[in-house]
Symmetry: C2
Subunit: 169 residues, 2 copies
Amino acid sequence: MTPYQAIELFAKTLGNLEKWMDKAEAYAKDRGFEVDVLAQSRLAPDQYSLVKQVQAVCDQAKFAAAYLSGGKAPSHPDTETTFAELRARIQKVEEYLATVSEKDFAGADDRKVAPAWLGGRWFRGSDYLVEMAIPNFFFHASMAYAILRHNGVNLGKMDYIGGITTHEK
Amino acid sequence: MTPYQAIELFAKTLGNLEKWMDKAEAYAKDRGFEVDVLAQSRLAPDQYSLVKQVQAVCDQAKFAAAYLSGGKAPSHPDTETTFAELRARIQKVEEYLATVSEKDFAGADDRKVAPAWLGGRWFRGSDYLVEMAIPNFFFHASMAYAILRHNGVNLGKMDYIGGITTHEK
Protein backbone atom coordinates (compact mmCIF):
# COMPACT_ATOMS: atom_id res chain seq x y z
CA MET A 1 0.00 0.00 0.00
CA THR A 2 1.60 3.22 -1.13
CA PRO A 3 1.13 6.45 0.84
CA TYR A 4 -1.26 7.62 -1.84
CA GLN A 5 -3.29 4.39 -1.60
CA ALA A 6 -3.47 4.96 2.16
CA ILE A 7 -4.89 8.45 1.58
CA GLU A 8 -7.42 7.02 -0.89
CA LEU A 9 -8.41 4.41 1.69
CA PHE A 10 -8.81 7.12 4.34
CA ALA A 11 -11.00 9.15 1.96
CA LYS A 12 -13.14 6.08 1.23
CA THR A 13 -13.51 5.37 4.94
CA LEU A 14 -14.55 8.97 5.66
CA GLY A 15 -17.25 8.45 3.03
CA ASN A 16 -18.29 5.27 4.87
CA LEU A 17 -18.44 7.26 8.13
CA GLU A 18 -20.88 9.69 6.52
CA LYS A 19 -23.12 6.70 5.72
CA TRP A 20 -22.96 5.50 9.34
CA MET A 21 -24.09 9.00 10.29
CA ASP A 22 -26.97 8.72 7.79
CA LYS A 23 -28.05 5.51 9.54
CA ALA A 24 -27.72 7.20 12.93
CA GLU A 25 -29.94 10.06 11.77
CA ALA A 26 -32.56 7.66 10.42
CA TYR A 27 -32.47 5.73 13.69
CA ALA A 28 -32.87 8.91 15.75
CA LYS A 29 -35.79 10.01 13.62
CA ASP A 30 -37.43 6.59 13.89
CA ARG A 31 -37.05 6.52 17.67
CA GLY A 32 -37.90 10.18 18.09
CA PHE A 33 -34.72 11.40 19.76
CA GLU A 34 -32.36 14.23 18.85
CA VAL A 35 -29.42 12.76 16.88
CA ASP A 36 -26.96 15.14 18.52
CA VAL A 37 -27.34 13.17 21.74
CA LEU A 38 -25.16 10.63 19.94
CA ALA A 39 -22.56 13.32 19.19
CA GLN A 40 -21.84 13.50 22.93
CA SER A 41 -21.94 9.73 23.50
CA ARG A 42 -18.86 7.81 24.51
CA LEU A 43 -17.89 4.24 25.49
CA ALA A 44 -16.17 5.18 28.75
CA PRO A 45 -16.31 8.38 30.80
CA ASP A 46 -12.63 9.12 30.16
CA GLN A 47 -12.63 8.26 26.46
CA TYR A 48 -13.39 10.59 23.54
CA SER A 49 -17.01 11.32 22.65
CA LEU A 50 -18.23 10.74 19.10
CA VAL A 51 -17.49 14.40 18.30
CA LYS A 52 -13.87 13.98 19.30
CA GLN A 53 -13.53 10.60 17.56
CA VAL A 54 -14.73 12.20 14.31
CA GLN A 55 -12.41 15.18 14.77
CA ALA A 56 -9.54 12.77 15.41
CA VAL A 57 -10.22 10.55 12.41
CA CYS A 58 -10.42 13.68 10.25
CA ASP A 59 -7.10 14.89 11.62
CA GLN A 60 -5.36 11.56 11.10
CA ALA A 61 -6.30 11.64 7.42
CA LYS A 62 -5.53 15.32 6.95
CA PHE A 63 -2.14 15.26 8.65
CA ALA A 64 -1.10 12.03 6.92
CA ALA A 65 -1.82 13.67 3.57
CA ALA A 66 0.03 16.85 4.54
CA TYR A 67 3.06 15.31 6.22
CA LEU A 68 3.66 12.68 3.56
CA SER A 69 3.14 15.02 0.61
CA GLY A 70 5.20 17.83 2.14
CA GLY A 71 2.14 20.08 2.09
CA LYS A 72 0.56 22.20 4.78
CA ALA A 73 -2.62 20.94 6.45
CA PRO A 74 -5.52 23.39 6.53
CA SER A 75 -6.52 24.45 10.04
CA HIS A 76 -9.78 23.02 11.40
CA PRO A 77 -10.47 24.22 14.94
CA ASP A 78 -12.28 21.60 17.06
CA THR A 79 -15.48 23.57 17.48
CA GLU A 80 -18.06 21.04 16.23
CA THR A 81 -20.89 19.92 18.51
CA THR A 82 -23.54 18.65 16.08
CA PHE A 83 -23.88 16.05 13.34
CA ALA A 84 -24.30 18.86 10.80
CA GLU A 85 -21.03 20.46 11.91
CA LEU A 86 -19.23 17.11 11.92
CA ARG A 87 -20.42 16.46 8.38
CA ALA A 88 -19.02 19.82 7.30
CA ARG A 89 -15.67 18.95 8.94
CA ILE A 90 -15.52 15.59 7.17
CA GLN A 91 -16.31 17.26 3.86
CA LYS A 92 -13.56 19.84 4.32
CA VAL A 93 -11.07 17.02 4.88
CA GLU A 94 -12.36 15.09 1.89
CA GLU A 95 -11.88 18.23 -0.22
CA TYR A 96 -8.35 18.64 1.07
CA LEU A 97 -7.50 14.98 0.39
CA ALA A 98 -8.72 15.46 -3.18
CA THR A 99 -6.09 18.17 -3.70
CA VAL A 100 -3.15 15.78 -3.23
CA SER A 101 -2.17 13.48 -6.05
CA GLU A 102 0.01 10.43 -6.39
CA LYS A 103 3.06 12.38 -7.55
CA ASP A 104 3.00 14.54 -4.40
CA PHE A 105 4.03 11.46 -2.43
CA ALA A 106 7.31 10.91 -4.27
CA GLY A 107 9.93 10.45 -1.58
CA ALA A 108 7.30 10.19 1.17
CA ASP A 109 9.05 7.24 2.83
CA ASP A 110 12.09 9.38 3.61
CA ARG A 111 10.39 12.60 4.63
CA LYS A 112 11.01 13.86 8.15
CA VAL A 113 7.65 13.94 9.95
CA ALA A 114 7.87 16.01 13.13
CA PRO A 115 4.43 16.55 14.71
CA ALA A 116 4.49 19.08 17.57
CA TRP A 117 3.50 16.40 20.11
CA LEU A 118 6.82 14.61 19.49
CA GLY A 119 8.60 17.57 21.11
CA GLY A 120 11.32 17.92 18.51
CA ARG A 121 11.76 14.26 17.65
CA TRP A 122 10.72 12.98 14.22
CA PHE A 123 9.54 9.91 12.33
CA ARG A 124 10.75 8.71 8.97
CA GLY A 125 7.74 9.06 6.67
CA SER A 126 7.40 5.30 6.24
CA ASP A 127 7.49 4.69 10.01
CA TYR A 128 4.93 7.46 10.59
CA LEU A 129 2.56 5.89 8.05
CA VAL A 130 2.91 2.34 9.40
CA GLU A 131 3.22 2.97 13.13
CA MET A 132 0.93 5.97 13.58
CA ALA A 133 -1.25 7.13 10.70
CA ILE A 134 -2.79 3.81 9.66
CA PRO A 135 -3.46 2.28 13.09
CA ASN A 136 -4.63 5.62 14.50
CA PHE A 137 -6.94 6.44 11.62
CA PHE A 138 -8.68 3.06 11.89
CA PHE A 139 -8.79 3.29 15.66
CA HIS A 140 -10.82 6.51 15.61
CA ALA A 141 -12.99 5.32 12.70
CA SER A 142 -13.71 2.11 14.62
CA MET A 143 -14.49 4.01 17.83
CA ALA A 144 -16.96 6.25 15.98
CA TYR A 145 -18.56 3.08 14.60
CA ALA A 146 -18.52 1.44 18.04
CA ILE A 147 -20.20 4.40 19.77
CA LEU A 148 -23.02 4.35 17.21
CA ARG A 149 -23.29 0.55 17.33
CA HIS A 150 -23.33 0.53 21.13
CA ASN A 151 -26.21 3.01 21.04
CA GLY A 152 -28.30 0.81 18.78
CA VAL A 153 -27.55 2.09 15.26
CA ASN A 154 -27.98 -0.83 12.89
CA LEU A 155 -24.46 -1.05 11.44
CA GLY A 156 -22.77 -4.13 10.06
CA LYS A 157 -19.27 -4.98 8.96
CA MET A 158 -19.82 -4.09 5.31
CA ASP A 159 -20.90 -0.59 6.38
CA TYR A 160 -17.46 -0.32 7.92
CA ILE A 161 -15.58 -1.79 4.95
CA GLY A 162 -17.56 -0.10 2.16
CA GLY A 163 -17.13 -1.07 -1.48
CA ILE A 164 -14.63 -3.76 -2.47
CA THR A 165 -12.94 -4.54 -5.77
CA THR A 166 -13.38 -8.18 -6.71
CA HIS A 167 -13.31 -10.07 -9.99
CA GLU A 168 -15.20 -12.97 -11.51
CA LYS A 169 -13.61 -16.38 -11.90
CA MET B 1 3.73 -0.13 3.50
CA THR B 2 4.70 -3.40 1.91
CA PRO B 3 2.69 -6.57 2.56
CA TYR B 4 5.51 -7.76 4.80
CA GLN B 5 5.44 -4.49 6.78
CA ALA B 6 1.69 -5.00 7.20
CA ILE B 7 2.31 -8.46 8.65
CA GLU B 8 4.96 -7.04 10.98
CA LEU B 9 2.49 -4.36 12.09
CA PHE B 10 -0.18 -7.02 12.71
CA ALA B 11 2.30 -9.05 14.78
CA LYS B 12 3.22 -5.96 16.80
CA THR B 13 -0.45 -5.17 17.40
CA LEU B 14 -1.18 -8.73 18.54
CA GLY B 15 1.63 -8.21 21.06
CA ASN B 16 -0.09 -4.99 22.16
CA LEU B 17 -3.37 -6.92 22.55
CA GLU B 18 -1.64 -9.33 24.92
CA LYS B 19 -0.66 -6.33 27.06
CA TRP B 20 -4.26 -5.05 27.09
CA MET B 21 -5.21 -8.51 28.36
CA ASP B 22 -2.53 -8.24 31.06
CA LYS B 23 -4.16 -4.97 32.19
CA ALA B 24 -7.59 -6.60 32.10
CA GLU B 25 -6.34 -9.44 34.28
CA ALA B 26 -4.77 -7.03 36.78
CA TYR B 27 -8.03 -5.03 36.87
CA ALA B 28 -10.12 -8.17 37.43
CA LYS B 29 -7.82 -9.27 40.24
CA ASP B 30 -7.92 -5.82 41.85
CA ARG B 31 -11.73 -5.67 41.69
CA GLY B 32 -12.16 -9.31 42.65
CA PHE B 33 -14.03 -10.56 39.59
CA GLU B 34 -13.34 -13.43 37.22
CA VAL B 35 -11.52 -12.05 34.15
CA ASP B 36 -13.34 -14.46 31.86
CA VAL B 37 -16.51 -12.41 32.38
CA LEU B 38 -14.80 -9.94 30.04
CA ALA B 39 -14.26 -12.68 27.46
CA GLN B 40 -18.03 -12.82 26.97
CA SER B 41 -18.54 -9.03 27.04
CA ARG B 42 -19.71 -7.14 23.99
CA LEU B 43 -20.68 -3.58 23.02
CA ALA B 44 -24.05 -4.48 21.51
CA PRO B 45 -26.16 -7.64 21.85
CA ASP B 46 -25.74 -8.47 18.15
CA GLN B 47 -22.04 -7.67 17.91
CA TYR B 48 -19.12 -10.04 18.52
CA SER B 49 -18.02 -10.73 22.08
CA LEU B 50 -14.39 -10.19 23.08
CA VAL B 51 -13.71 -13.88 22.36
CA LYS B 52 -14.91 -13.50 18.80
CA GLN B 53 -13.14 -10.18 18.29
CA VAL B 54 -9.87 -11.80 19.31
CA GLN B 55 -10.52 -14.83 17.10
CA ALA B 56 -11.29 -12.45 14.22
CA VAL B 57 -8.21 -10.26 14.67
CA CYS B 58 -6.09 -13.42 14.79
CA ASP B 59 -7.70 -14.69 11.59
CA GLN B 60 -7.23 -11.40 9.75
CA ALA B 61 -3.50 -11.52 10.47
CA LYS B 62 -3.13 -15.23 9.74
CA PHE B 63 -5.04 -15.18 6.47
CA ALA B 64 -3.32 -12.02 5.25
CA ALA B 65 0.04 -13.70 5.79
CA ALA B 66 -1.09 -16.90 4.07
CA TYR B 67 -2.95 -15.38 1.12
CA LEU B 68 -0.28 -12.81 0.31
CA SER B 69 2.66 -15.18 0.69
CA GLY B 70 0.95 -18.00 -1.21
CA GLY B 71 1.17 -20.21 1.87
CA LYS B 72 -1.45 -22.24 3.67
CA ALA B 73 -2.91 -20.89 6.91
CA PRO B 74 -2.85 -23.29 9.86
CA SER B 75 -6.33 -24.28 11.09
CA HIS B 76 -7.44 -22.76 14.40
CA PRO B 77 -10.96 -23.88 15.34
CA ASP B 78 -12.92 -21.20 17.21
CA THR B 79 -13.16 -23.09 20.48
CA GLU B 80 -11.72 -20.55 22.92
CA THR B 81 -13.80 -19.33 25.86
CA THR B 82 -11.19 -18.06 28.34
CA PHE B 83 -8.39 -15.50 28.45
CA ALA B 84 -5.88 -18.34 28.76
CA GLU B 85 -7.21 -19.98 25.62
CA LEU B 86 -7.28 -16.67 23.75
CA ARG B 87 -3.67 -16.07 24.70
CA ALA B 88 -2.73 -19.47 23.30
CA ARG B 89 -4.56 -18.64 20.05
CA ILE B 90 -2.74 -15.31 19.72
CA GLN B 91 0.58 -17.01 20.33
CA LYS B 92 -0.09 -19.64 17.67
CA VAL B 93 -0.76 -16.87 15.17
CA GLU B 94 2.36 -14.97 16.24
CA GLU B 95 4.36 -18.15 15.68
CA TYR B 96 2.85 -18.60 12.24
CA LEU B 97 3.53 -14.97 11.28
CA ALA B 98 7.16 -15.50 12.29
CA THR B 99 7.47 -18.27 9.68
CA VAL B 100 6.88 -15.91 6.74
CA SER B 101 9.67 -13.67 5.55
CA GLU B 102 9.93 -10.67 3.30
CA LYS B 103 10.88 -12.71 0.23
CA ASP B 104 7.69 -14.80 0.52
CA PHE B 105 5.71 -11.71 -0.46
CA ALA B 106 7.35 -11.24 -3.85
CA GLY B 107 4.51 -10.79 -6.31
CA ALA B 108 1.93 -10.43 -3.51
CA ASP B 109 0.21 -7.48 -5.21
CA ASP B 110 -0.80 -9.65 -8.16
CA ARG B 111 -1.76 -12.83 -6.32
CA LYS B 112 -5.33 -14.03 -6.70
CA VAL B 113 -6.92 -14.02 -3.26
CA ALA B 114 -10.14 -16.03 -3.24
CA PRO B 115 -11.51 -16.48 0.30
CA ALA B 116 -14.41 -18.95 0.46
CA TRP B 117 -16.84 -16.21 1.56
CA LEU B 118 -16.40 -14.50 -1.82
CA GLY B 119 -18.17 -17.46 -3.43
CA GLY B 120 -15.75 -17.90 -6.30
CA ARG B 121 -14.86 -14.26 -6.86
CA TRP B 122 -11.35 -13.03 -6.07
CA PHE B 123 -9.34 -9.99 -5.06
CA ARG B 124 -6.04 -8.85 -6.50
CA GLY B 125 -3.57 -9.20 -3.63
CA SER B 126 -3.05 -5.45 -3.39
CA ASP B 127 -6.81 -4.78 -3.25
CA TYR B 128 -7.27 -7.48 -0.61
CA LEU B 129 -4.56 -5.93 1.56
CA VAL B 130 -5.87 -2.36 1.22
CA GLU B 131 -9.63 -2.91 1.16
CA MET B 132 -9.99 -5.86 3.54
CA ALA B 133 -7.00 -7.05 5.55
CA ILE B 134 -5.80 -3.71 6.95
CA PRO B 135 -9.17 -2.10 7.81
CA ASN B 136 -10.55 -5.39 9.13
CA PHE B 137 -7.55 -6.23 11.26
CA PHE B 138 -7.65 -2.82 12.96
CA PHE B 139 -11.42 -2.98 13.32
CA HIS B 140 -11.29 -6.16 15.39
CA ALA B 141 -8.24 -4.99 17.35
CA SER B 142 -10.05 -1.74 18.13
CA MET B 143 -13.24 -3.56 19.14
CA ALA B 144 -11.28 -5.78 21.53
CA TYR B 145 -9.74 -2.62 22.99
CA ALA B 146 -13.16 -0.90 23.13
CA ILE B 147 -14.82 -3.80 24.96
CA LEU B 148 -12.10 -3.75 27.63
CA ARG B 149 -12.14 0.06 27.83
CA HIS B 150 -15.92 0.15 28.11
CA ASN B 151 -15.70 -2.27 31.03
CA GLY B 152 -13.26 -0.10 32.92
CA VAL B 153 -9.84 -1.45 31.98
CA ASN B 154 -7.37 1.43 32.21
CA LEU B 155 -6.14 1.55 28.61
CA GLY B 156 -4.81 4.59 26.78
CA LYS B 157 -3.92 5.35 23.21
CA MET B 158 -0.26 4.38 23.53
CA ASP B 159 -1.32 0.93 24.75
CA TYR B 160 -3.08 0.64 21.41
CA ILE B 161 -0.20 2.00 19.32
CA GLY B 162 2.68 0.31 21.16
CA GLY B 163 6.31 1.21 20.50
CA ILE B 164 7.18 3.83 17.89
CA THR B 165 10.37 4.51 15.97
CA THR B 166 11.40 8.15 16.29
CA HIS B 167 14.70 9.98 15.98
CA GLU B 168 16.40 12.90 17.72
CA LYS B 169 16.79 16.23 16.01
